[in-house]
């Protein structure tokens, strides 16, 4: 489950307005945001095609 901007701003409002909130809520918000970030981590680059190095003809290099 991802942590939305609405949830984050609700927490922000409560902290700034002096309304009740707990450190557990803050920690849970960070845990979820870290989880969201990790789930969006870019996948490792897929290998491009199946190309293999071609044999080099030494005569071409001379």
């Amino acid at each position: 489950m991802s942590f939305s901007h609405e949830q984050l701003n609700d927490l922000r409002k409560r902290v700034l307005d002096g309304q009740p909130y707990t450190r557990e809520e803050l920690a849970e918000a960070v845990r979820q945001l870290v989880g969201d970030r990790l789930s969006q981590a870019p996948k490792a680059a897929e290998p491009k095609g199946k190309s293999k190095p071609s044999p080099v003809n030494l005569d071409d290099l001379l």
């Binding site: 901007h5 984050l8 701003n9 927490l11 922000r12 902290v15 700034l16 450190r23 557990e24 803050l26 920690a27 918000a29 960070v30 845990r31 945001l33 870290v34 970030r37 990790l38």
Partner: protein, 305 residues
């Protein structure tokens, strides 16, 4: 305009003086700040720094991740406040929180090889400060010795050596980002200060950049060293710079050198850009309409009304 010559010089004041003497005059000597001054870069940077400071301090002492990050988020929220940046700005509240989260992901508290060093009293050296006398330079009004002061985010330990650590938020990290810090005076000053006041053998600086972008955050880290000769050169020029400030104070002339250095358009736009473009005949009127006196205190690192 009531002018005050500062007793304490910081890296920021020195850089301001060297970027434009007139900016130094308006901002530091006259203490002017625009009435509509809140700046998204400073707001986001301060909130991000507050989050990291609270997190690191608690974690270094208690190794309690949950409380450390909760205190970090709380500090970020309080520092960012209810500020809403202009439409299109990247460093919004949500993106600043994303930067804090990115930092926790890229530099995990438990396994980060760069850790706060611990002082002799067992307190982690997070938000490390120093002040020392500038040799042979005296305040032009009081005659007291002039001071140099600074504060860095952390005095860190890495591979058995001491480094100053500074976290920087930015809107982008280009290929030459790490080169920006090779010679940067700010870090030479931090290393000099740690050596001078605390007799600590600090060898260099670690700069962690966090680019806050619309969809993602990007990080980069630079490690720079400060040999003795570079520190000596920095100290010699510090004396020369502050002596020039005093000479200009005595002469009452602070030229508009930003017209050559490009300072007029740094960080968006210089807060005195319009004022400098105003006919001097109307300078006082413009100042009383658009500015208030709000002096920067380099020790407390906040503006004082």
């Amino acid at each position: 305009m009531e002018l005050e010559f500062p007793r304490v010089i910081s890296s920021t004041l020195r850089a301001e003086f060297n970027s434009c003497h007139k900016k130094f005059f308006y901002s530091t000597l006259a203490g002017l700040q625009r009435k509509d001054a809140q700046n998204v870069h400073l707001t986001a940077g301060a909130a991000y720094a507050a989050a990291l400071e609270a997190t690191r301090t608690h974690y270094a002492i208690h190794q309690d991740y949950d409380t450390a990050v909760a205190l970090g988020l709380e500090a970020l929220i309080k520092k960012y406040g209810s500020y809403v940046p202009a439409e299109g700005e990247k460093k919004t509240f949500e993106r600043t929180v994303a930067a804090f989260v990115e930092h926790l992901v890229v530099y995990p508290l438990a396994s980060d090889p760069i850790k706060p060093s611990i002082g002799p009293n067992g307190v982690p050296r997070v938000e490390f400060t120093f002040t020392f006398e500038i040799p042979g330079v005296f305040h032009p009004v009081t005659g007291d010795p002039m001071l140099f002061s600074g504060a860095c985010d952390e005095l860190a330990e890495f591979n058995g050596a001491l480094f100053v650590l500074d976290d920087k938020t930015t809107s982008g990290i280009g290929p030459s980002w790490s080169k920006e810090w090779d010679l940067r005076s700010q870090f030479t000053g931090y290393v000099a200060g740690a050596r001078e006041q605390h007799q600590l053998n600090v060898v260099g600086a670690i700069i962690r950049g966090m680019a806050i972008l619309k969809e993602q955050c990007k990080t980069q880290q630079a490690i720079v060293y400060r040999p003795d000769w570079m520190i000596q050169r920095w100290k010699d020029r510090l004396v020369w710079d502050v002596q020039r400030m005093i000479e200009m104070w005595k002469a009452g002339y602070f030229p508009h050198t930003g017209e050559e250095s490009g300072a007029c358009t740094h960080y968006g736009l210089c807060p005195f850009h319009e004022l400098c473009g105003t006919n001097p005949q109307f300078e006082q009127n413009f100042i009383s309409t658009a500015y208030e006196v709000n002096r920067w205190d380099p020790v407390k690192r906040e503006r004082q009304k």
